[in-house]
Point group: C2
């Protein structure tokens, strides 16, 4: 018997029919004797509709009241999902974040989980019930007010509960089959990645892969929770995110597998083992690159003719940091004609207005000549633990972009990641040529091996 | 400074525009320096829509999960109303029933309030905030699960909070101007009743007047909470429900009045006193009858040829009572030809199927010949404390119905009430002729006195 946490996003519970389908899946696990905790998001567009309603009343709703409003969304989906399970003959009980013991700080709209005390969930499991828990929400330790966790909060709820309950696996269900080597909408030949380390997954998520939020992956790494990212529309194997090759996890009501052996499983039918000659031995022929991520949500601020004297650049970053902006890349170019430098930085477009205002306000103190802003940029990143030992990676990347006539504007690197900024109009092309240059495109044999991947 | 509890029903908060209108009304009280607690129902048809959603998933949702689902409705309305108040410059905070300390038993769907511990509401009031509380819901003392109070539950929440907070008045807002001498849709000349005792209000509510639920009036009587039933679409005086003629209650942000003097206030402008000669002195010329209530939601079961031996009738009532049916009237007719009786009883139509099944199952034990069921009945009741001392009341009632050619099927009486059952097709006529026979129709002077009543 395993303890499985399953998280279903809004598109998986968009209407009554979807909810019944999800209930049938959960029921299979429960009826096979597993303990199941389900974390659920609000149905379909409910959250957006509630925000619309608030905006009809006031352009600036108080954060505490907005959290109270939005948490109605998961209350509806969890109650209806619980009803559907009971109709399937499975005893199920729905719990709010507060009832499930999700204790947070008091920062409404983007609260952090301080601890999870899932006493009532444990009681429900011991009584043989499936526990349905509202994602995205908790209760403030100090004020006892209802809080929400911000974007991707339901994933974080699921991972935090899995950690507190010492679950065997935390399954993240969505409408895609797992983590891919690139976005299949841009690269149709992208392949599913059967197994990935937390560090690689973190870098993919931080650089634009939307399938998992950084916070939930960080939480999973810290507490050693294996994640299984998979589709709610099939019983296929998805992507296992784990750093522990010896961990034994359930991947089907009747099948468990050692993490390192995941790549030897047939994606379409997890109960089947693949013949050895179809599968690269783990570690030996592991691909250098796990995946290609892209991000078109950033903008670039360039500050021209900053005096090249101690403290001026530091002051620039101080005033930007004080706005809470999330700076990603920084490039500094020394002028060849005078004693000034040009400093460029990238940041989320949503952070740009406040950052630009702060830089304007510090015009005299910094002493620059001009500020430029460009939101027509795109970032493409390659991520792979194999990069560390393969010195040719950056050369391959730059050559492939050069041959495709794509200009590189900025570059940043880490141990397992290489990111470049291009014009946003060439971003999709950049993703495709890089995916191809690193041999990630699916070949015929691969398609046979995995029983057909893609969306 | 007064402490005022204001309850707004679903039609008063049906959309963003209505919510802003309600917020403006609350803001007037708050800005005048009063402490205000607001109890709010779910927006418009939200509750029905949530029930529809549940029924799409299962015909028989578990009661615990249904309560969890339905309470999302008030969560939305209370959060949005709180936002609207904050947008009006009034500090407001929304609280669930649980947060407001509404502690109930564990009977999902029709829980009873065991106690109210409104510590957080008191804190909010002391901090100068308006407290918005979700109506209709509480939390079980034993299981800590979320419960709902059943039909009219928001009124009960409001009265219970008013009692616990020792509020000066509990205002019940709806889309009508108060309690009328009859339903104005049936009797256009019906008049608003400015002041009514709890006992009379109870009898009106129990016999079909829909403006207040019996439970909330019982609660108000037990704890001495004065109620003020009024329209959310005007600032008019409505109906005060109280047994204490000396109670001083606020009826406007700037006006308080002694209960017994309520009838001397201009309905359209509560700040105006009426000249003495326009108003009957309280007690001296009080009308015999306070109002005419009607109810078309009952059915009649008739059990024919029940043996007239000890215990047979008792057995009949035992089996019906065991189904939880709410029996209203009972009539027994002894046969003149043999040793049997016919027993008729009325009960809510929704209780009839279970009651009929139980009577069928006890056919042999009781030994009757036949069961008949008639759902085409209507009940009309007159209620008034003055009836006790006026022996001609029943004669006036029967004469007026007889002259109109309306047959009386069953009769029941109490100290302050007289009810008759007629064919449902004549019910509206019965209400009109009785209303007229007891001199309740509005006259020209009355319309002037109250500045125009009606819906």
């Amino acid at each position: 018997m395993s303890l499985v946490v399953q998280k279903f996003g809004g598109s998986s519970v968009a209407d009554a029919a979807s909810i019944k389908r999800v209930a049938d899946r959960i029921a299979k696990y429960s009826k096979a004797g597993h303990q199941v905790v389900v974390v659920v998001s609000a149905m379909g567009d409910t959250t957006d509709e509630l925000i619309d309603l608030a905006e009809q009343v006031t352009p600036a709703p108080p954060a505490r009241e907005l959290d109270m409003l939005l948490t109605a969304g998961e209350r509806i989906s969890m109650a209806v999902l619980s009803m559907a399970l009971n109709a399937d003959g499975v005893d199920a009980r729905a719990y709010t974040g507060s009832q499930a013991g999700v204790i947070t700080d008091e920062v409404h709209g983007r609260a952090h989980i301080l601890k999870v005390t899932p006493g009532r969930i444990r009681d429900a499991l011991e009584a043989g019930s499936v526990a349905i828990v509202a994602g995205f929400q908790g209760v403030s330790q100090t004020t006892k007010d209802i809080t929400t966790l911000g974007r991707g909060g339901s994933d974080t709820t699921a991972v935090a509960l899995a950690a507190a309950l010492e679950a065997d696996v935390c399954e993240i269900y969505s409408d895609v089959d797992g983590v891919f080597t690139a976005d299949p909408r841009i690269v149709p030949s992208a392949r599913r990645v059967p197994l990935i380390s937390c560090e690689e997954m973190l870098d993919l998520a931080a650089n634009g892969a939307k399938i998992l939020m950084v916070r939930s992956v960080e939480y999973a790494r810290r507490y050693g929770v294996p994640l299984h990212v998979r589709s709610s529309y099939s019983g296929r194997l998805g992507t296992i995110v784990s750093d522990d090759p010896e961990r034994v996890i359930p991947i089907d009501p009747d099948v468990t597998v050692r993490t390192a052996d995941v790549v030897r499983r047939d994606a379409a039918d997890p109960s089947k083992e693949l013949p050895m000659d179809f599968v690269p031995a783990p570690g030996l022929e592991a691909p250098i690159i796990s995946g290609v991520a892209h991000d078109r949500s950033q903008g670039k601020i360039t500050v021209v003719e900053v005096p090249d004297s101690p403290g001026k650049a530091a002051l620039l970053f101080d005033v930007v940091a004080a706005t809470g902006a999330n700076i990603d890349m920084i490039v500094q170019n020394t002028s060849t004609t005078d004693d000034t430098v040009a400093i460029s930085l990238t940041l989320p477009e949503s952070d740009a207005p406040a950052a630009l205002a702060a830089i304007e306000a510090a015009h005299e103190a910094i002493g620059y000549s001009e500020v430029r802003y460009d939101d027509q940029i795109g970032k493409v990143s390659i991520v792979g633990a194999g990069m560390k030992s393969h010195p040719g990676v950056s050369a391959t990347l730059f050559r492939s972009l050069g041959e495709a006539g794509i200009n590189i504007d900025m570059i940043s690197t880490s141990e397992i990641r290489l990111s470049v900024v291009t014009d946003v109009s060439r971003l999709d092309d950049a993703v495709r040529v890089i995916h191809s240059a690193f041999g990630l495109d699916a070949e015929q044999t691969e398609a046979v091996v995995y029983g057909g991947t893609g969306r």
